[in-house]
Symmetry: C2
Subunit: 451 residues, 2 copies
């Protein structure tokens, strides 16, 4: 549905609810997809949200609820009666429920868990036991596992009874008596196989799997790499305990990309939506970074001040400081951007740090030479002083080399220290290059002007 | 498979091929996944690649070939005999084949197309007729479409015969006599339905679909939004012509994120792998941007030069220029980063431009006040001149406000002009804020120092 249409549904819904036309509102929502209904409900005034939500059928309510923003989920849950908790929270998929409970106050969680059916309580508690951002936390424990000696016909019959309780049935997992994963049968394989064959005859034994403590980004990369619809999760004893599905993976990859982009822009990210957090949080996430940069910038200032003697003799040198530090920062930002992205998407593969940095150094010299020549001509034309013009040009080559080496080497250094390379972000490199760049500038000036 | 293991397979493979031990090499590859085999082949010297490739079974060869980098695909294709073209290129999925042909020289394409079977030639030519980066180009025309009056039992029988030619069978599409899409049945629905029902009784009529000219990013967002495994593509007359699958979508979203990140870092991206392009291309993609920034930086320089009179009287003012422009650039980069990402992931949703910019302006003032106070104290401690210290502090508030407004407003402006907001990247805003920031600085200085 296009965004204009979605807007229309939302405003229409609000209008109907204002007029207390519940039948009309209900009819309006019938052809609308659950995710779009969720967005429409999010857009309503708080008092109307629970009314709109109660218009939905039980089956639809569960789906819509899973799509709601966690803040809306939380405010709705406070309004829920015991029966609604059983109808909705109890029926949610355990991974979504775990995410919700993770964000609620402990008191509410305890009340809610007590209202869940024993079985659902157990599977949620299981997920909450795993570390954040691991496969264990994002997996669903609802999968179909079967034994090898079952025939295709028996399996199809079994699936008919299980399908409603299981989140995905496109892959069936075959396990031995101690729950070890021995193979996988896709629903496709099952449908095209002859009914008398056993699962043991048609299963694929080379199964790609992850462990409960595998980082969620690695889980996502695995699904992406092998073009899977889902990946099985096994525990330390190699027993099958859950499944991560491709739709969750898309969101994870997007979240990781956002985190990288924020880090490159010098903004802390905590996985939630920047546009829904309050201003104080926004300022807090940005000020730390700015403060660090302010301090390092002060160092640049101190260096410039220490060269006041030169500046007073050749004031015109000051005019080129922004050009030099700016260009250095930009060259460094370019290098660090491609390296950080390459490391995080594994595009760099096994090209080794040395080779990559050498390549960036060459690129830096090449860029420095091109820009240096232009800057020299430019500076001469502006100033008419060949000494100053050539100082600017030579400095630019040195700074471009320095910036591209720093921009490519620092992310590798950060990674080898076990830190996220994206922390070595563009603003940081910009500032670092400024400091050293200004030092180089004045020293070349001293040399050429013989001061 | 872990990356160390993948490395081992590759070096092992090279060793065996060097010793001409083809049986050993073949055995080595048996338990390895196609994507990992592709990576191992890419790592081999060119002369060995075709030898290694010919070790694979026909079925495996197609899969491995689809995973190879396009440069390796192209060099292999030159070596292929007519039979191999029929075995491999003819059996590739049409969307992958279209991508390959798109990159080959026209002469090779003509030769290849003539060797394909008439049917495959037609479906490839169909895909190549659509604009780049549209649904038409990335869809596969291999899907299963059926008529409403078919029973579940008949459908299952039909699938058994079709499954090998169709890329995905997890969704079946129901069309009327003029090929209009009337509904969708998932394989899951089919398997759990009673065999005597007709497709008309079990199909879902509210189908999410896209058009052939829909941009690939929007296709990806649609699949992501509705948690689909595939989305049907219809032509202008609403006839079903193809399907886009979720595995392609993950790669598209990643590519789009990379393009955004590159744009934010001031690097042009053309969708290929930065680490596999040559240095001249790398320099070309970076120098244009740097040159633009160099020119705008010159403006900053010119402004500083025009203020030489003030600078000569109070040289110490120069020392704070990097701190001010640097902080301004960083604040602006933060704002533009979150806005651009928000626009591209649709996180901003319908929070109008005005509201977002106002919010960023408030954040800018808040950040400016915090940093301004710190900078004033700091400058006074360094300089002992209260006038200069307060000039620095006041300028910082003004610059932070300016930077956050520019950083948030310019991406919206770009988008309303129909341009990619990511073009309004951090380096550009940094430079723009530098120019105006320096002007503000000197004017505040003039005012306070009464020069």
């Amino acid at each position: 549905m296009h965004s204009e249409l979605r807007q229309l549904v939302r405003s229409q819904l609000e209008l109907l609810l204002e007029r207390n036309n519940l039948v009309g509102a209900k009819a309006l929502l019938v052809p609308v997809q659950p995710v779009d209904i969720a967005e429409a409900i999010e857009g309503l005034p708080k008092s109307m949200q629970v009314i709109a939500f109660r218009l939905l059928s039980k089956a639809e309510a569960i789906e819509v609820y899973e799509y709601l923003d966690s803040t809306v989920q939380q405010s709705l849950i406070q309004e829920f009666k015991r029966q609604e908790v059983l109808d909705i929270v109890d029926k949610m998929s355990p991974d979504d429920r775990a995410k919700l409970l993770d964000e609620l106050p402990a008191k509410v969680v305890r009340r809610l868990l007590s209202q869940l059916s024993p079985q659902e309580r157990q599977s949620t508690a299981l997920l909450l036991g795993y570390e954040e951002n691991t496969a264990g936390r994002i997996m669903t424990p609802e999968y179909i596992s079967l034994k090898e000696n079952l025939t295709v016909r028996e399996t199809l019959e079994r699936i008919r009874t299980l399908a409603n309780t299981s989140e995905i049935i496109y892959y069936l997992y075959v396990t031995d008596t101690s729950r070890h994963l021995t193979g996988i049968v896709s629903l496709r394989d099952l449908v095209i196989a002859s009914p008398e064959k056993t699962l043991g005859e048609i299963l694929t034994r080379d199964v790609v799997f992850v462990h409960t403590d595998t980082d969620q980004e690695e889980v996502a990369r695995t699904i992406q790499r092998y073009d899977l619809l889902a990946v099985p999760v096994v525990d330390k004893e190699d027993r099958l305990v859950g499944v991560v599905t491709v739709d969750d993976v898309i969101d994870i990859l997007e979240q990781e990309a956002t985190e990288d982009i924020y880090a490159l822009g010098g903004v802390q990210s905590e996985g939630d939506n920047y546009f829904q957090t309050n201003l104080v949080t926004v300022a807090r996430r940005r000020v730390v970074w700015l403060f660090v940069l302010l301090l390092t910038n002060t160092v640049t200032g101190t260096i410039i001040r220490s060269q006041e003697a030169i500046l007073q003799q050749v004031v015109t040198l000051a005019a080129f400081i922004p050009l030099l530090t700016g260009t250095g920062g930009n060259v460094g930002a370019q290098s660090s951007t491609v390296i950080i992205r390459g490391l995080n998407t594994e595009d760099i593969k096994d090209m080794g740090a040395g080779k990559v940095i050498f390549r960036e150094a060459l690129a830096g010299i090449l860029l420095g030479l091109i820009l240096g020549m232009m800057a020299t001509v430019w500076a001469y034309w502006l100033q008419g002083n060949l000494f100053v013009a050539s100082i600017v040009g030579i400095t630019l080559v040195a700074i471009a080399l320095l910036a591209s080496v720093a921009g490519s080497a620092l992310p590798f250094l950060f990674r080898s220290l076990g830190l996220d390379p994206a922390l070595m972000s563009a603003p940081f490199i910009t500032t670092a290059v400024d400091v050293i760049g200004v030092l180089i500038y004045f020293n070349i000036a001293k040399l050429i002007l013989r001061l």
